[in-house]
Symmetry: D3
Subunit: 280 residues, 6 copies
Amino acid sequence: MKLKKLVLTGAAGRLGSYLREPLSKMCDELLSTDISDDIGTLYPGETFVKADIAKFDEVEPLLEGADMVVHFGAIVDERPFEEMLGPNFVGSYNVWEAGYRHGVRRVVYASSIHAVGMYPKTEFIDTEVPHRPDTFYGLAKCFTEDLGRMYWEKRQMESVHLRILSAAQVTNPRALGSWLSYDDLIQLVTRAIDTPVVGFTIAYGVSNNDRAPVDNARAAFLGYRPKDNAEQFAKEILGEAEPADPMDSGTMCHGGPFASVELGQSAVKGMGIVDDRKKT
Amino acid sequence: MKLKKLVLTGAAGRLGSYLREPLSKMCDELLSTDISDDIGTLYPGETFVKADIAKFDEVEPLLEGADMVVHFGAIVDERPFEEMLGPNFVGSYNVWEAGYRHGVRRVVYASSIHAVGMYPKTEFIDTEVPHRPDTFYGLAKCFTEDLGRMYWEKRQMESVHLRILSAAQVTNPRALGSWLSYDDLIQLVTRAIDTPVVGFTIAYGVSNNDRAPVDNARAAFLGYRPKDNAEQFAKEILGEAEPADPMDSGTMCHGGPFASVELGQSAVKGMGIVDDRKKT
Amino acid sequence: MKLKKLVLTGAAGRLGSYLREPLSKMCDELLSTDISDDIGTLYPGETFVKADIAKFDEVEPLLEGADMVVHFGAIVDERPFEEMLGPNFVGSYNVWEAGYRHGVRRVVYASSIHAVGMYPKTEFIDTEVPHRPDTFYGLAKCFTEDLGRMYWEKRQMESVHLRILSAAQVTNPRALGSWLSYDDLIQLVTRAIDTPVVGFTIAYGVSNNDRAPVDNARAAFLGYRPKDNAEQFAKEILGEAEPADPMDSGTMCHGGPFASVELGQSAVKGMGIVDDRKKT
Amino acid sequence: MKLKKLVLTGAAGRLGSYLREPLSKMCDELLSTDISDDIGTLYPGETFVKADIAKFDEVEPLLEGADMVVHFGAIVDERPFEEMLGPNFVGSYNVWEAGYRHGVRRVVYASSIHAVGMYPKTEFIDTEVPHRPDTFYGLAKCFTEDLGRMYWEKRQMESVHLRILSAAQVTNPRALGSWLSYDDLIQLVTRAIDTPVVGFTIAYGVSNNDRAPVDNARAAFLGYRPKDNAEQFAKEILGEAEPADPMDSGTMCHGGPFASVELGQSAVKGMGIVDDRKKT
Amino acid sequence: MKLKKLVLTGAAGRLGSYLREPLSKMCDELLSTDISDDIGTLYPGETFVKADIAKFDEVEPLLEGADMVVHFGAIVDERPFEEMLGPNFVGSYNVWEAGYRHGVRRVVYASSIHAVGMYPKTEFIDTEVPHRPDTFYGLAKCFTEDLGRMYWEKRQMESVHLRILSAAQVTNPRALGSWLSYDDLIQLVTRAIDTPVVGFTIAYGVSNNDRAPVDNARAAFLGYRPKDNAEQFAKEILGEAEPADPMDSGTMCHGGPFASVELGQSAVKGMGIVDDRKKT
Amino acid sequence: MKLKKLVLTGAAGRLGSYLREPLSKMCDELLSTDISDDIGTLYPGETFVKADIAKFDEVEPLLEGADMVVHFGAIVDERPFEEMLGPNFVGSYNVWEAGYRHGVRRVVYASSIHAVGMYPKTEFIDTEVPHRPDTFYGLAKCFTEDLGRMYWEKRQMESVHLRILSAAQVTNPRALGSWLSYDDLIQLVTRAIDTPVVGFTIAYGVSNNDRAPVDNARAAFLGYRPKDNAEQFAKEILGEAEPADPMDSGTMCHGGPFASVELGQSAVKGMGIVDDRKKT
């Protein structure tokens, strides 16, 4: 069941850069798009169109004839609500509504742990717990998940919402549990695409870490079986770690630094995330 | 514990018109606001300021010195997303953010059954079930509930979200279960204000109908005990009713007509809701 | 919404005798049937046909043109499986299958607490707990509920399953909790008929007893609000009661004597149930 | 089923003083005991023996021939662990163990909301939630409930654990939800005695307050239906109340002042509990 | 703990043919039976008796002296109710009742996913969910599970109900999740026999597929750890698959084709199940 | 994050003897203590102080300057309540209270399956099920868990409660599910120490046995991944096992022999536990 056309938003982003190649092999045509045009060399079958996801008129034509959309385009940090409204809220609406008008079958969405980031880690949260966003960033994920559920229930348009924990290098104790390797990310996106029917499904994006703190059981039928395990980094990281304050929501909650940052202020700053974008 | 200042948004609306008088008695100053200025005579202690809830700069100054906000201002029907974005989404953000900046203690919000309208009535839904919006209108309620939860968990600003079922005359079989009388509405808003602490709380707004289909147990500490019962209208209404189609989501789901209407199109049209606004 | 035609099985039975008059008023034609023809005087609009529920060919023609069937015909005690197979198992199949072929919209079925009779009373069982039958009699109720659910999910034929606790005089301590008065039975059957859509619904048939041990919350939308309360008999009955053995499943379990009787042997014998059939 | 002999511990305490008369009417002999002998005039059929519940040898002989024990004897405030160990922990063991040796059928125990006092009121807690004690006082209640469950499961000795919320005058906002009137206390103890079988059962002791924050559903079979409602005091009490701090566990948690007091220090001091002991 | 005598029904069927050899090694005597006598060469210790499971008099004598029965005899496709009544309903009763009379300790039963086939795959169903049969075939499994639970609770006769998903070659996308290999089937039956006590237990029969959609946690104590994984076939099968319709219950529900077939009509036809019976 | 000082109670016990060496490597100073001084050679960095855990004055000074306490000191068998009161109840209080006074961050406690030993194995119990102790031994574990939860919620002192199933040789069928190897014990204690924040956490101590009957999901964030599997002993042990009685709580319940032993009487006697204390 090779797909005719896939659309990837956020293609120039860090995670998007790792998805372009595998996605290009799953379809006849991969249309990559981003607000930036720093896209490098295109893969066979790939085309690129620069577009602002927040503008319906720019997004809408891209989805013509598409089977599915892999929607990773958004601001990927906490910012004031006014800044996020366009790309992270309206952008999601644009993708679903334009997709619906063009008969797109399914959206695979980069949701986030931050939709439920205020749960303490001592709760092993599954994919049906009520939302508890930790930031405006997380609130946009809640909005999009609810939107996706509605488009499924009212319009039979499918979606898979991948609540990514932390797809970055393992540089702190939290990441021992929350790490999602690029290989596992690719597997997860692939399953979200190749599973014949998904309806409305949420799945956590996390590797096979010993300390993975979330429950993917309800998404078991997707067949996502991560291979990587951050425990390989445990000895070094824990050896250097300072004693943690159990009353700090940034340590105790699933959302990590997002759970303790002031609303509207960057939570990524200082996390030491290296831009290891895949170069093409 | 008489309050110094309360702010009521949507004061010129149908429900707002019934709240003005009782709210004016609970505080030294009631500041009523609406996008319309068809407000009639003011009650003792009441002042009115016309404002567009969708504009932060218009909303913000109104909340100075307020103890609580009763937030009922919004479009109260289904419309295209673009039309609802300002008043129903951004408007909620404006109220919470402005309230936070001014030290407002609590927001009492007119949420709606349409945040969970796609559940079938054969599920007795409590206030912790995940969102299942039936319309963009419902999606805005989901957004605001999640926003309110976040402001509680990140900023300790309280809110009570009243998921009103149908606060209108009983003219069809669904309303035998979903009716919220004006007296019960007033009791519910009063409890949401006079309960000493509420944190983040959701409560269904429904009268003591025999056929009430939702579960308020988790909000029991509010002490809301509705008095009216739509069963008084049952004989007449059921006597005239046509056989219903159990496969129609508009009949089977909690959201009623909103659950079967096309997204973006009015669900209220044809429901025969009389504008029985309380005149002052 | 007056119904054209209702069919009542088990019309000559004890409970059936109380249902004939109210049902006859809800429809143009009430077709009563039973394996016995001891039916007395017919009510206006009522006709009677003697038939063996266990024989498809006898049941099938009766349902022609019917809107709904109220299915109370069965052996109402524990007996060897071989004796119950026809009336209590095959009989249910016959009603649903014949109903389906004739376009019947809904079956209202006399199920029983004995479908879940092995739960201890210290569990407040709702209508979604897995089956735990206490007798072959209860097993037939399980079978019929599962059958009804399947006809709903595969064929969109509705049913309401009334798990009656004990519709008989209050003569022992168990009945203080389990009593269903005839008036409340009539209300319950009426709601099961006049509720516009029901899908597949289970409801416990019990009066408003202080000691009622079961949870009807999921069926709340039916609007069943029983009026009678067996507590009026408590003083006399408890005054005479012997100390009970907490290890006896007949005392501790919801099923009462059925929970302790040997499979296949009468559990009604010795319960002192008076045949107070309503005479016409 | 009049009982031969009942034993009441804590008979000279505030709650005990209200129970002596009704208990004396339910049995041939009521043996009242307390560490204090300030017992006043005895009721017909009542005898009194002074005893220290913490001493097995003093308790044990009292239970000879008893059908049931109503165990209310304990320190009823928070104190250092060392002080509570004897009366509140060992005392409970003494009652159950001595009862077992004498063939006592059932213990009715004054447990407390403080066994679960750290739950926030926004959780409507039922009687199966895990323990979350707020004080050593509450911890003793947890200990006794677990002990009672074990004696039921290992030795078939029944018990009912009455988690009393606040059986005192309504003098603050919390009590609007937590009040247990003396009449309702008597009804609750009566049901715990006259229900034929109870196994191991927990029930909350709270009146029919509009704002009652706990769920007695699992104990429904006891038939406890409280009559009093603290809402009669709401207007006056809320009118005088200061704004509350939602981050204060003493306001937000079920345990009230016990939830915020330092372990080992009196939580009752300053609550204004009047000693309105029933005089005989 | 080698068993003296095991009885295997359905021994000439496809699954039975794989069980005969391993079962023959677990006991002194394996009595195999089937309505067909196409049984091939017997294994050491095996005897064969042709019998119709629907006839009590043919089944009953076979169970004399048996420790356990492995009950796989039934029609293994959907057929009209009248055809299934004997072998699939009455047959189960015959096995349990005859077993009870002969003191058989345990029945290991070939139940099926079709007892709960109407659940959507987006629900990760455990072994305690209420029944939702998809066919008369599934309804017979529900009946037998309830029967087995009753024989355990009333008569202390144990049973394990193996809800087999699809024990056939992997030829379609559904089977990537539902496949049960013959080796894993044998392991599962072995555990159901060798576990010292089982009471009443349900376990899903599925291999260690990446996409296995059901939850065996409650049966964990059996120690069933499947080894095979259908993912080895994924690439080829998904490559050839047509896009699926998410609104088709045959695709979306656990029951697969059984969930969409008309009641009473073969669901196996066209599934391409090869008769790879093990030849002896 | 090497710790400065760890305290190990019960250091001369069977499990303690295996913990001393690994613990000594995790900190600058390991202070081992026991009521027995049969401690053998000390490890580098280890000191030993003989003390009676039941005496506050002996325990208190040991905890000065400690980061964490690993609390394994207790009677490890069932005994009369009076004998257990000191070491198993008061001893726990002493550790927590002394720890609190000295600013100890965390207690890692040897809890036990016997806190929930009366659950049948057919329930896959997680770490949030209510207590169901099987012995006074188990009751002390319940007491300590509740105590630990209170110190966390009232005083922000962390604890991890390891509900050990059976850390002894595999000599009977129950141990095929309940075995905890010494290596896995060490891993579990290590995780309980090196996880940055734990709040109040319960985890089952069991190896990666095929037949492990308990659910550690809620403690997933600890990253405990046991390596050993008792299934290696299954063939031999099951081959020799006698048929078991499913009505015997000692066979059917998680607590094993503790679930059937008379309260106060040794349950370990006759279990064939070899004292394979690690010699130093």
